[in-house]
């Protein structure tokens, strides 16, 4: 097995003493870092495509090709400028590079050479690959091409197997779930998705789907409920598939990219529109044509389409959680460019996540009340919830006092409305069963006023005022860095924070977090608040990279550490190098995180 061969090379030495890699991960082989794919283009040109590991780059001026010892003209794209103190800017490629050769013969062997480095870590010798023009098969040819020391007069040419270990990139065992057979990959991701359905990421989906079903609950049959939920779930899964294609094309996370004010506002607006229709105000508000499109009506073709639209957008904008399977699939797609395999795995992940929703939508819908005042009330309840979802989403982009005002109006308004309904009963008899209604109404009004007061006074912690009862998580606290984390939002601040940690000789924890990341909130109040964890983190410098706004700054930070999205926790050793084995992607539990801390301390 090739992997075993690579290990043997490392192991081989140890002549009379022990030799241990100082860092568990060790350097990556050049073949792992720079992956070459070759295709024949439409105009018979030979297309080269390199996918490059994050943190590494290829030099544009080191790309070269030859056929039968004669150099070929290799057309390359503009690279990114990198300041070289010697030559001024040189051009390099990050993440991917491409080049082509026009008009190649049908047979023969093209040698292509490329060279690159890992930022601040390592520079690789030139790598040469041979491409058989008849089959486009790529094989290792390093040592066959002219290499610097071969051509020198000093006869310093090394043995041709000079970095043979570099060829051993075919790492044996199958562990990721993305290797192995296609079918088992899909099933694995379906299973992951099903498990993920029970994480907080999916909670916002419930009122959206339920609300949509309630819209048409008047005559909702089992089949209709199934059809609507299925279209919602299929669209949601497709959205995940699209994530994969996006990652393959742009090497980024579409979900995070969609956390723009415009997208979030539009989605919130959709929810408000839906909510208004729940209150029966809808027909007065919008023209009929738009009505039919936006609010699905039972029996109309638009309803299936509406469900699909909601499912697709919800997946992208409402619940942008990053989980290990999602991150693994996205990274896989971005690195290999294998959009088909990655996207279909993501699609299955979405299907798995949607399965419980589908069950709920199909069977839950049939047990919903068929008609009457109850249905009216339930619609209104969902209307309130949908406005809540809209507010929750807007809190990602609007200043907190505004959001506080919004919540206070919603709470007080709901309370007042409940009171109004109670008073407007045909026979306003004060019965015992109305006591909880009145109490709830009063509580909501008081809570609303309380929040309004807070908004005016300039402090705002919407759910914290309820935290004493253990009902709600304490959110928003970390803006002040109360939990010992230093908040950074750009690379300069991050560098300064890391430098400070290094100066103290302390390991560093960087927590990638965002306001819109529900999983992050959950971890902050469980794992990171855990007493044992806090104690273990005593000697660690804590940095929180706030990537709430998906701007160039946060993208840079994320790209630098190859972070797909929050929540991701990485440890740097006192030298500022990441301890790769200690990385946590997605939600974790205290025990696992303690193991990561231990790994970080070893590293």
């Amino acid at each position: 097995m090739a992997y075993a061969r690579a290990i043997r090379f490392v192991t081989l030495f140890l002549l009379a003493f022990w030799l241990v890699p100082a860092f568990a991960a060790g350097p990556k082989l050049a073949d792992q870092v720079f992956r070459l794919g070759v295709t024949l283009g439409e105009d018979e040109e030979l297309d080269f495509n390199w996918s490059i590991e994050p943190g590494y780059y290829l030099y544009r001026d080191k790309l070269a090709a030859s056929l039968g010892g004669k150099p070929l003209k290799l057309t390359t794209a503009q690279g990114e400028l990198k300041d070289d103190p010697n030559f001024g800017p040189t051009e390099v490629y990050h993440r991917e590079a491409s080049a082509y050769i026009e008009a190649v013969p049908a047979k023969g062997e093209v040698l292509v050479t490329f060279q690159g480095c890992g930022e601040n870590t390592i520079c690789y010798p030139p790598v040469t690959k041979a491409i058989d023009l008849a089959t486009l098969a790529v094989s290792d040819a390093t040592g066959r091409a002219e290499r610097p020391h071969d051509s020198s007069s000093a006869e310093t040419g090394g043995p041709s197997g000079f970095h043979a270990a570099g060829a051993a990139s075919d790492n044996g065992a199958d562990a990721s779930g993305l290797d192995g057979s296609y079918i088992s990959t899909l099933l694995t991701f379906f299973g992951f998705g099903f498990l993920l359905a029970f994480t907080p990421c999916m909670f916002p989906m419930l009122p959206i789907l339920s609300g949509m079903l309630t819209q048409s609950a008047g005559r909702l049959s089992l089949a209709r409920g199934f059809a609507l939920s299925a279209s919602y779930v299929l669209a949601m899964a497709s959205a995940y598939g699209v994530l994969g294609i996006f990652a393959a094309w742009f090497g980024g996370n579409l979900q995070a990219a969609l956390q723009t004010p415009v997208a979030v506002t539009l989605m919130s607006a959709v929810f408000v529109v839906l909510a208004l229709s729940m209150f029966g105000l809808y027909e007065l508000q919008l023209p009929q044509s738009l009505n039919a499109k936006l609010v699905p009506r039972n029996g109309e073709s638009g309803s299936i389409g509406g469900a699909a639209l909601l499912g697709f957008t919800s997946a992208l904008i409402v619940g942008p959680c990053v989980t290990p399977p999602l991150a693994a699939a996205l990274v896989y797609v971005a690195q290999t460019g294998n959009a088909l395999r990655g996207s279909s795995a993501l699609f299955m992940l979405g299907l798995g996540m949607g399965l419980p929703l589908l069950l709920l939508g199909t069977f839950g819908a049939t047990v919903l009340p068929k008609s009457g005042a109850w249905l009216f009330r339930i619609k209104q309840v969902f209307g309130v919830i949908l406005i809540g979802v809209a507010l929750w989403m807007m809190s990602r982009i609007l200043p907190l006092p505004l959001i506080a005002t919004g919540w206070s109006v919603l709470a007080a308004g709901t309370g007042a409305w409940i009171a109004l309904i109670a008073v407007n009963q045909p026979e306003p008899v004060w019965r015992l069963r109305q006591v909880p209604v009145v109490a709830a109404s009063a509580a909501l009004v008081v809570y609303g006023l309380f929040l309004a007061g807070g908004a005016i006074a300039g402090w705002y912690e919407p759910l914290r005022s309820l935290a004493w009862a253990g009902i709600a998580p304490s959110v928003g606290t970390w803006h002040q860095g109360e939990d010992g984390f230093q908040i950074v939002t750009n690379e300069t601040d991050l560098d300064e924070a890391i430098a400070a940690g290094r100066a103290e000789g302390r390991p560093i924890l960087v927590d990638f977090s965002a306001d819109w990341c529900t999983e992050c909130r959950l971890m902050e109040r469980t794992v990171l608040a855990d007493e044992i964890v806090r104690r273990r983190l005593n000697g660690v410098r804590l940095i929180r990279a706030d990537v709430t706004r998906y701007d160039a700054q946060s993208r840079n930070i994320m790209r630098r550490f190859a972070v797909v999205g929050p929540p991701t926790l990485i440890f740097l050793n006192p030298m500022g190098t990441e301890v790769e084995s200690a990385r946590t992607v997605g939600a974790t539990v205290a025990d696992d995180f303690l193991a990561k801390i231990a790994a970080a301390e070893r590293g």
Partner: protein, 211 residues
């Protein structure tokens, strides 16, 4: 090919890291036996720091490697402040055509007792893609007799070539993937380090040597 990417990724994500406990064995490469003495006691290899130090650091570098140059300043500083480190220079020209020129210039300067001067002059040209002319210019400015250097390189071509070849063989045998590479006591580090990084590994290496 693609499969190994996802495996790596998954391993990283899953946090799987294997610690290899290595066993004593002999490496053979292209018929050349690599011995401990070849690495630590090659009589031709230039030495810096304290020759009687308690810890040996073997430095594999290339004069076209930008990170080697940054790292070298940190290492030289540590060697100086520490005072008990023996630094063994392994010219390892693998990056570009002119890398070999740089190695010849530096190793040729050894014959007039000025290896370190030439080495530092070459390492002080920042960046990559250094031209032959720039290298020669830098060496001249460091106070080296170029005419003598030229003659020494000519007459000792076999010795210089042989040393470079041995260095290439050693680097292959110990599995270095690129420049820079360091052997610090029992540790192999195949990436550029900062001053603190070197300090850290040196402390670990001494601790391990005591055990």
């Amino acid at each position: 090919m693609n499969d190994s990417v996802s495996r790596n990724t998954f391993l990283r994500l899953a946090g799987g890291a294997a610690v290899l406990l290595l066993t004593k064995t002999f490496a053979r490469s292209a018929g050349n036996e690599v011995t401990r003495d070849m690495i630590l006691a090659d009589p031709e290899a230039p030495i810096g720091g304290n020759p009687d130090g308690d810890l040996a650091i073997v430095d594999f570098f290339d004069y076209n490697c930008p990170f080697c140059k940054k790292s070298a300043t940190h290492l030289e500083r540590l060697v100086k402040t520490d005072g008990r480190i023996k630094l063994i220079y392994k010219d390892w020209p693998i990056l570009t055509e002119t890398s070999i020129v740089g190695a010849q210039l530096a190793l040729g300067a050894k014959y007039q007792g000025k290896y370190l001067e030439a080495h530092r002059a070459l390492m002080n040209i920042p960046g990559y893609g250094i031209s032959r002319e720039q290298m020669i210019d830098a060496v001249r400015k460091s106070g080296i007799d170029l005419a003598r250097l030229d003659a020494d390189v000519q007459s000792n071509a076999d010795a210089i070539g042989g040393l470079i070849k041995r260095n290439l063989t050693i680097a292959e045998a110990i599995g270095l993937q690129g420049t820079p590479g360091f052997l610090i006591g029992p540790y192999k580090v195949n990436e550029a380090l900062t001053y603190e990084g070197f300090q850290h590994v040196v402390a670990d290496a001494r601790a391990r040597q005591r055990n």
